[in-house]
């Protein structure tokens, strides 16, 4: 018996699907739509099938859950699941379909607890009810919001047309401000049955009720002492929440009894806007997801669309040089991100700004290179489909760097070589000496915010957070892309899963990135002159289908689920553009990690997850 089980966890995707089909011939069917893959599961059997997928087939890691509204195409809603194995390999895609009027699917939180926030998001944006979800509330918008905005028949206040470019702007050239069309002069749209008399803000009371705080909480301690629980709101305006993030913490004395993350304060409607945009148009928007590592976001999206494109006729993959450039940018971004996050982690620990300023110095050097190459320090918008925006310039010169009235001017390859071979290693050594064995740092971080490996996997955490718990899962190795298979690097992993391990893992990752960069530079020299810009990069003709492109972002696994439904001659817009944001899903683990610790530890634990709100709230 054991042998059979061990075998099954090695089955590839199609064999796994066959096995499931044999077991549930009626409930499971192949997804036969053009360009689609995976299986469609009858919602009534979803629980059992999911259990089998997890326990028998070994897909222990639920990467992404999302909804899609197929109004006008098939008139149903679909919930799409991507499950992976932490041992590696591609994702198993399974879907559940439900009617649009009263969409209902069983919740999979009991199978993969990491589905928690993602199901809440699908409920919030699509109105899909997940039966059996322990706490099905809105997550990004507020309670009382009118409608479910990602439904295809829901229109925003400034709605103009289904697809960009809007006829009025191009070729028409009719430009007016959206405010002018709205009597209120604002981005608002009220339902027709608005009753101002009954208007009250329910968003907060529901939140507190969800925490069980609507009633007086008076617990009797074992020694008969009556204590009150205290509710403390951290955020949305708080220097240590790394953006507009809020935590509602219930305290028992100084100890945390429960913690509820509240988000959506930066919900900028990426996905709705992404469905109006054309494929290329979305590229700069991906910059603004994880705005510290824009280059890596670009890459994930480019990979997803390339997957779609590769089913069409005109597609040719990126050249070797383009791949090298991509890896160069992405690894530099990893260093930028970890410098930033370690600096701020130390900041949260009370080492106010000094470590951060040290780290930022190096970061600025890399940003100079980004600026010279892509034209922008932060929002690089650099990748294109099947290529990049342009080759690296010969010289880095920038008036932005006027120092003592001199314009800085370097040869790019020299600049990079010096940075990779000398500056960065030197800096990392120095930072290491100053911090790693620092007594205070260890005191505050060792054994704090522990996340066990099983929990880390079950909660779908990813990136350094998952690896610090001892799971060496890295998409660069688990499901390789670009030229990573030929590069030599290690995946650092921790043992104890505490904050200190996360610190070490990030540190080690920077060293590994430097190691990758050292291998990239000679490849760049060799491939000089190869084309990196392709026509398809700017005028993609995307065939019908779905794709899930995922990359190992500095913060974890970033996935793009893109569905294309238009005909290749019509408007080129994604039907669905979903971002599986690592920060968002990692936050599922925040509550469990904090319980039992002191208030002062909350900010450090949060800092050790390394979230960015642009991506959390999208």
């Amino acid at each position: 018996m054991m042998d059979v089980v061990a075998d099954k966890t090695q089955l590839d995707i199609s064999a796994s699907i066959e096995l499931l089909r044999e077991r549930w011939p009626d409930a499971i069917s192949h997804d036969n739509r053009d360009g689609f893959s995976g299986i469609i599961v009858d919602p009534a059997q979803l629980d059992d099938v999911a259990l089998a997928i997890r326990d028998e087939l070994g897909f222990d890691y639920l990467s992404s859950v999302t909804g899609v509204d197929y109004l006008g195409i098939a008139d149903h809603m679909e919930v799409v699941y991507h499950a992976c194995r932490t041992s590696g390999g591609p994702a198993l895609v399974f879907k559940a379909q439900t009617g649009r009027d009263d969409p209902r699917v069983p919740s999979l939180v009991s199978v993969w607890p990491g589905a928690d926030f993602q199901e809440r998001e699908a409920y919030d944006l699509y109105g899909i009810h997940f039966d059996g979800h322990p706490d099905l509330r809105r997550i990004l918008l507020w309670d009382g919001f009118d409608g479910h905005p990602l439904r295809k028949d829901w229109q925003e206040a400034y709605f103009e047309e289904e697809h960009k470019p809007f006829d009025s702007r191009w070729p028409g050239g009719q430009v007016y401000r959206a405010e002018e069309k709205n009597v209120f002069g604002k981005n608002v749209r009220y339902p027709d049955d608005l009753d101002l008399g009954r208007l009250n803000d329910v968003s907060e009371s529901d939140l507190y009720q969800g925490l069980g705080l609507g009633v007086d909480v008076q617990a009797l301690d074992s020694d008969g002492l009556r204590t009150d629980r205290l509710v403390v709101n951290l955020g949305p305006h708080h220097p240590s929440t790394h953006g507009v993030f809020r935590m509602v913490v219930t305290l028992d004395g100084e100890t945390i009894a429960s913690l509820d993350p509240v988000m959506g304060y930066l919900h900028r409607n990426h996905e709705k806007i992404g469905e109006r945009n054309s494929f290329l148009h979305n590229m700069p928007f991906t910059d603004r997801l994880d705005y510290i590592s824009s280059m890596s976001n670009n890459l994930g999206y480019a990979l997803a669309v390339e997957q779609l494109l590769s089913q069409g006729a005109r597609y040719s993959p990126p050249t070797y040089r383009a791949e090298c450039l991509r890896v160069l940018m992405v690894e530099l971004t990893r260093i930028v991100n970890h410098l930033w996050s370690l600096g701020f982690l130390l900041n949260d620990l009370g080492a106010f700004f000094t470590p951060m300023l040290y780290a930022n110095n190096e970061r600025e050097k890399i940003l100079d290179f980004f600026e010279a190459t892509s034209g922008s320090r932060l929002m690089c918008n650099y990748m294109r489909f099947a290529g990049v925006y342009r080759d690296i310039p010969e010289r880095i010169r920038s008036v932005a760097n006027l120092v003592n009235d001199k314009v800085r001017d370097y040869n790019t390859m020299d600049y990079l070589t010096e940075m990779v071979n000398e500056r960065l290693p030197r800096f990392l050594d120095e930072y290491d000496t100053l911090l790693t064995r620092n007594e205070i740092l260890r005191e505050r971080t060792v054994g704090v915010g522990v996340l066990l490996a099983e929990d880390a996997i079950a909660l779908s955490t990813c990136g350094p957070l998952l690896r610090a718990s001892g799971v060496p899962y890295d998409v660069r190795r688990a499901d390789p892309y670009s030229i990573y298979p030929e590069l030599d690097f290690n995946i650092p992993a921790g043992k104890n899963g505490d904050i200190y391990d996360r610190f070490l893992v990030r540190f080690q990752e920077m060293r590994e990135s430097v190691r990758i960069l050292k291998q990239i530079l000679p490849r760049l020299e060799q491939s000089q002159g190869e084309a990196v810009v392709t026509k398809i990069g700017h005028t993609p003709r995307v065939p019908v289908g779905e794709a899930y492109g995922r990359v190992e972002n500095p913060k974890g696994e970033l996935g793009y689920y893109v569905v294309s439904e238009g005909d290749p001659k019509g408007p080129q817009n994604p039907w669905r553009y979903h971002v599986r944001a690592p920060s968002f899903i990692n936050l599922t683990a925040l509550g469990p990690m904090c319980v039992g610790h002191k208030v002062a530890d909350v900010v450090t634990i949060l800092g050790s997850i390394d979230i960015v709100l642009g991506e959390t709230d999208r």
Binding site: W142, G173, K181, N187, L194, P236, G243, M379, G614
Partner: protein
């Protein structure tokens, strides 16, 4: 204090002896008041989105806005004079933002950093996005960019200092906080089915009543749009018949418009051809 600083303060025709100029300045109340205010503006430590990263970059050692008197950022609104709205303002976030603004002691200033805070930016059409913080708060300086570079932000902050230099205590429009009694707090928006600005309650009620009578709720009919190119074409025709009469548009513009017309015609033809296939 540097010697030149006191000299800069001098604002009177009364002569101060040369040897005392380093120590004594005779000046007007306006001048010394503005000078002291503009030279120690503490921004609120408050980041919203991507622009906040550039704001932190500006505060960090390379660009360092402390050099200009923005000494430290304070976490508490009660200790800050300047709110840098650095990023996309969402409907969910505008509520705390207005509350923070109300908690700041006067005199207080608002700087809208980036396209989002100034007018909605790339996310303007989003259903949860406020198209510019100035829909709710008075803004003193707008800094364009997405994100503005640190240099641009510094320029914006210096512009704010210039604005303060020009203010006068005699003009209550400039410095409303010297009026009689405490000033009114900005009303805090309410999250209903959509965000509700208390200042617009009357208008919303009116519209709701009209909507009950089947009129469109909140939509405004814009006057029919006139294509400037078409107008120009008519003028060009006139111009041709009159052979360069004085009421025609200048030839360069006419040529540009003609070119554009031709391009549009070509595009239309291409589209028609495509549709025919």
């Amino acid at each position: 204090m540097a010697q030149t600083d006191l000299r800069a303060l001098q604002d009177t025709e009364f002569p101060v002896p040369e040897e005392l100029q380093a120590n004594i300045a005779i000046t007007s109340l306006d001048k010394i008041y503005n000078w002291s205010r503009r030279s120690s503006m503490w921004p609120l430590l408050f980041g919203l989105a991507c622009c906040a990263i550039e704001m932190i970059g500006t505060a960090a050692s390379r660009f360092d806005f402390s050099r200009f008197g923005f000494e430290v950022m304070r976490g508490s609104p009660r200790q800050s004079d300047l709110m840098i709205v650095s990023g996309t303002v969402t409907k969910k976030m505008i509520v705390p933002i207005v509350r923070l603004y109300n908690q700041m002691p006067e005199p207080k200033y608002v700087l809208a950093m980036g396209a989002c805070a100034s007018g909605g930016g790339p996310f303007k059409e989003g259903y949860n996005v406020v198209s510019g913080v100035d829909k709710y708060l008075p803004v003193d300086v707008y800094v364009p960019g997405c994100p503005p570079t640190p240099q641009a932000l510094l320029y914006g902050m210096i512009t704010l200092q210039k604005k303060i230099d020009g203010q006068s205590l005699a003009n209550l429009d400039d410095v409303p906080w010297y009026g009689v009694g405490p000033s009114e707090p900005t009303p805090v928006p309410v999250l209903g089915p959509d965000i509700i600005d208390p200042r617009q309650m009357e208008l919303i009620r009116e519209q709701a009543q009209q909507a009950a009578l089947e009129a469109p709720f909140g939509a405004r009919e814009l006057p029919a749009w006139v294509n400037p190119a078409e107008v120009a074409q008519e003028t060009t025709v006139v111009e041709e018949t009159q052979d360069g009469a004085e009421d025609g548009i200048d030839p360069a513009t006419a040529a540009r418009i003609r070119k554009r017309e031709e391009a549009m015609a070509r595009l239309a033809a291409r589209r028609a051809a495509k549709g025919g296939q």
